[in-house]
C-alpha cells in the first residue's frame, strides 16, 4: 500500500502529467484573467479532452484550470476592479486601490503568494484527511448511501441559490433528466420520446457547457454594450512597488493561516464554495487586523485573506467527492464527471481500487501549486494584456470552443443541439435565479442515487422502511430535515431584518 502511495505520488513527475498541469494552469490563468469568462467555463470546454488522455494527465489538468482560474479571477479584480469570479470581489476591494497607487505588481504578487499558500494548506488537509475518512464511509450500505445523498442534495439545493425550494427543484429536475435513457437495473429505455439519440441518456458534456458557458455569453451579448476604455496598464518601474517581501509575508502569515482554515472548512461542506469563504476570511482579517483603518485602501493582509481562503476551498472541496462520492459544488461535479468518463466512480472505494491514480492526483495537486506560482509569476505582463482583450474577440472564440467541446465527445451534431437547448435553459435559469450548479449536481448524483435506491429496495423487498429503521440512514435523514429547516429559518430572519431596516 505504502509502495503504491509513493509510486503514485512520484508518477506525476513524468512528462505527460507535467505538460497536462502546465496546459491546465495556462488555460485557467487565461480564462480567469479575461473578464466575463471564468475557470469553470474552461473546465467545461476542456472536459472532453480528458477522454483522450490518461486520467493521470486529464484530471490534474482540470485541477490546474480550477486552481489557476480562481487566481486568474483576481487578476482582473486587481487591475481593472472587475472581479473575474465572484470570490474575487474582496480582492478587488483591496487590490484595485494598490493598482491605483502604482503597486499593481505588489498586489498581484501578494494575491499569488496567498493563493498558493491557501492551496497547499488545503491540499495537505485533503491528502491527510480523505483516506482515513474513506475507511468510515466505506462501511455504508445502499440505504446509508441513499440517505447521505438526500443530505447532500438538501444542503446543495438549499445553499446554491437565493431560494431553498428553487435550489432543491433544480437538483430534483437534474436527477429527473438523468433518468432519461436505459435503466441500469432492468435495461428498459425510459423517456426517450422516439428519439434514438436519447437512448444513451443526455450527454453530460454538452449539457454542462450549455448550462455554464453559453448563458454567460448570452448575458454579455445581450448586455447593453459599453466597452470600458481602460488606460493602458503596466507594472511599475520601481521594483519595491512590485514585490511581496519577506516582511510582508511575516505580517500576513497569521491572516493567511486563519483564512486557509476558514476556506478549507467551508470548502469541505457541500454547496458553500469559494465566495462565502472569501467574504468570511476578509471580515475576520479586518476584525483582527492591527491596522483595520487601512482596509479598503489597499491593505496587503486584506488582500491576502480572501485569496488564501478562496484557494483553500479547492482541495477541501474534493473531500466530500472522494470520501462520499458527493460533489460539493459545480466544479467538483464536473471533476466527478471527468472521473466517470474514465470509468472511475469517485467514492470511498477509489482509495483501494485506484490507489496509484488517486495518490498520483494528490501529487498533481501539489505540483499544480508549484507550477501555478512559477507560471503565474513569469507571465504578469501577459496577464495584464489579456485582461484588456476586446470582448468581440473573446466571445467569438468562446462560442466556437463551446461547439467544439460539445461535439468532440460523441462527434455528433445532436450534442450541439443539446448544447444550444441547455444554453437557452441555462440563460433562463440565471434570469429567474435557478441554480445551474444544483441542476448539474443532481444530474451527476442521479444515477448513483438511483443505484442506491434500487439496491435498498431489493434488500427490503420494496419496502421504504429500510430508510427509517436503520440508525445511520435515520441520522442522515434527520440531519437533512434539520439543515433545510435551519437554513429556511436563517433566511426568514434575514428577510425580516432587511424589511425592518427599510
Amino acid at each position: 500500500m505504502i509502495g503504491e502511495i509513493l509510486s503514485g505520488l512520484a508518477s506525476i513527475l513524468s512528462p505527460g502529467p507535467l505538460i497536462g498541469i502546465s496546459v491546465g494552469i495556462l488555460t485557467g490563468l487565461v480564462f480567469g484573467a479575461i473578464p466575463g469568462i471564468s475557470g469553470i467555463m474552461a473546465i467545461a470546454i476542456l472536459l472532453p479532452m480528458t477522454f483522450y488522455v490518461s486520467p493521470l494527465i486529464g484530471i490534474p489538468m482540470l485541477l490546474g484550470i480550477y486552481k489557476a482560474g480562481i487566481f486568474g479571477g483576481s487578476i482582473s479584480a486587481i487591475l481593472l476592479n472587475t472581479p473575474g469570479a465572484p470570490p474575487a470581489v474582496c480582492t478587488a476591494m483591496e487590490g484595485y486601490p494598490l493598482t491605483q497607487k502604482g503597486k499593481a505588481g505588489k498586489a498581484l504578487n501578494t494575491a499569488l503568494s496567498a493563493s498558493v499558500f491557501g492551496d497547499v494548506f488545503s491540499n495537505l488537509l485533503l491528502i491527510f484527511v480523505a483516506a482515513p475518512l474513506s475507511i468510515i464511509t466505506l462501511k455504508a450500505g445502499p440505504a446509508e448511501r441513499f440517505a447521505i445523498i438526500v443530505l447532500a442534495l438538501t444542503v446543495v439545493g438549499s445553499i446554491s441559490g437565493p431560494s431553498i425550494i428553487k435550489g432543491i427543484i433544480c437538483a430534483g429536475v437534474g436527477i429527473w433528466v438523468s433518468t432519461i435513457g436505459i435503466s441500469e437495473t432492468s435495461g428498459a429505455t425510459r423517456f426517450i420520446f422516439g428519439l434514438p439519440e436519447l437512448i444513451g441518456g443526455i450527454s453530460l458534456i454538452p449539457m454542462v457547457i450549455g448550462l455554464l458557458c453559453l448563458p454567460e455569453v448570452l448575458r454579455q451579448v445581450g448586455g447593453i454594450y459599453k466597452e470600458k476604455k481602460n488606460s493602458r496598464l503596466a507594472l511599475s518601474g520601481n521594483k519595491a512597488d512590485n514585490r511581496f517581501t519577506l516582511r510582508d509575508f511575516r505580517y500576513c502569515l497569521p491572516t493567511m493561516v486563519k483564512s486557509s482554515f476558514i476556506g478549507s472548512f467551508l470548502g469541505a461542506l457541500p454547496g458553500l464554495g469559494a465566495s462565502p469563504a472569501a467574504f468570511m476570511a476578509y471580515s475576520e482579517a479586518q476584525r483582527s487586523s492591527k491596522k483595520p483603518e487601512k482596509f479598503g485602501k489597499g491593505a496587503v493582509d486584506g488582500l491576502a485573506a480572501p485569496e488564501a481562503a478562496n484557494n483553500a476551498t479547492t482541495g477541501a472541496a474534493m473531500i466530500p467527492m472522494l470520501t462520499l462520492g458527493i460533489p460539493g459544488d459545480d466544479v467538483t461535479a464536473i471533476l466527478m464527471g471527468a472521473f466517470m468518463i474514465q470509468g472511475i466512480t469517485p467514492g470511498p472505494t477509489i482509495f483501494y481500487e485506484h490507489t496509484h491514480l488517486i495518490y498520483g492526483i494528490f501529487g498533481g495537486l501539489l505540483m499544480c501549486d508549484l507550477l501555478l506560482f512559477v507560471i503565474a509569476k513569469m507571465g504578469f505582463k501577459l496577464w495584464i494584456k489579456l485582461s484588456q482583450l476586446p470582448k468581440h474577440l473573446i466571445f467569438s472564440c468562446v462560442t466556437v470552443f463551446c461547439f467544439v467541446g460539445a461535439y468532440s465527445i460523441n462527434q455528433s451534431l445532436f450534442d450541439i443541439f443539446t448544447l444550444i437547448v441547455f444554453g437557452i435553459i441555462g440563460f433562463f435559469m440565471n434570469k429567474y435565479q435557478f441554480s445551474a450548479g444544483a441542476f448539474i449536481i443532481g444530474f451527476i448524483l442521479g444515477p448513483i442515487w438511483e443505484r442506491a435506491f434500487d439496491q435498498a429496495m431489493v434488500i427490503s423487498n420494496g419496502s421504504f422502511s429500510i430508510f427509517f429503521t436503520r440508525p445511520i440512514p435515520v441520522v442522515f435523514l434527520i440531519l437533512a430535515l434539520v439543515s433545510v429547516i435551519s437554513i429556511a429559518r436563517t433566511r426568514l430572519k434575514a428577510k425580516k431584518t432587511a424589511a425592518a431596516r427599510i
Binding site: 465572484p86 454594450y225 467569438s396 466556437v400 468532440s408 444550444i420 424589511a499
Partner: protein, 165 residues
C-alpha cells in the same frame, strides 16, 4: 385576477405552475414512456416516480410561497443584484441565439472550416467588432488551426459538411 397578480412573487408563481403543468401529467402518464427491459424486482419507474413526486410537491410549494411572499419593492433582490445585467438588449440575445442555430445548420451543410469564420464574424459584429479586414483572416486562420489541432492531437474530425463529403 389583476389583484391576484399584483400580490406575491408573480414569477415564482408562474414558474411553479409551469413545473406543475409539466411534472404532474408526466407523473400520471410516465408508464407510457418506458419500453423493453428484463423483469426486475424493482420497476424502472420506481425511482423516476419518486423524483417526479418530489418535483410536483416542490412546485406546489413554490406556488404557495410565491403567493405568500410580499412583492419586491426594488428592482432586484440583494443576492441577485450583483449577477444580473441591469439592461438587457433582447434583440442582441435573439440574434445570438439565431446565430447558434445557424452555426448548427452550417456545420451540417458546409462544415467547420467554412462555417466557423462566418459565425465568428457575426458574433464579433454584434459585440461591436468592426475591423473586418483584420478579423476575417484571423478568424479563418483560427478555424483552420483548430480543425487541424483537433484532427492531429485529439483524433477528432470536426464536421466536414454534407456538401463536401
Amino acid at each position: 385576477m389583476k389583484r391576484f397578480f399584483n400580490q406575491g412573487n408573480r414569477t415564482d408563481v408562474i414558474i411553479g405552475v409551469i413545473f406543475f403543468v409539466i411534472s404532474f401529467p408526466f407523473l400520471l402518464t410516465m408508464h407510457h414512456f418506458v419500453s423493453g427491459g428484463t423483469h426486475s424486482s424493482v420497476s424502472p419507474l420506481s425511482f423516476p416516480r419518486f423524483v417526479v413526486v418530489l418535483v410536483v410537491i416542490l412546485s406546489i410549494v413554490l406556488v404557495i410561497t410565491g403567493l405568500l411572499e410580499k412583492p419586491a419593492s426594488g428592482k432586484a433582490s440583494a443576492p441577485d443584484a450583483g449577477n444580473s445585467t441591469p439592461d438587457i438588449n433582447h434583440v442582441n440575445t435573439a440574434i445570438y441565439l439565431g446565430i447558434l442555430f445557424l452555426y448548427l445548420v452550417l456545420l451540417h451543410f458546409v462544415g467547420f472550416v467554412i462555417a466557423t469564420p462566418i459565425i465568428m464574424l457575426m458574433v464579433a459584429y454584434i459585440l461591436n467588432g468592426r475591423n473586418f479586414l483584420i478579423l476575417a483572416p484571423a478568424f479563418t486562420a483560427f478555424s483552420v488551426g483548430l480543425y487541424y489541432i483537433s484532427m492531429k492531437l485529439m483524433k477528432i474530425i470536426l464536421p466536414t459538411g454534407i456538401f463536401f463529403e
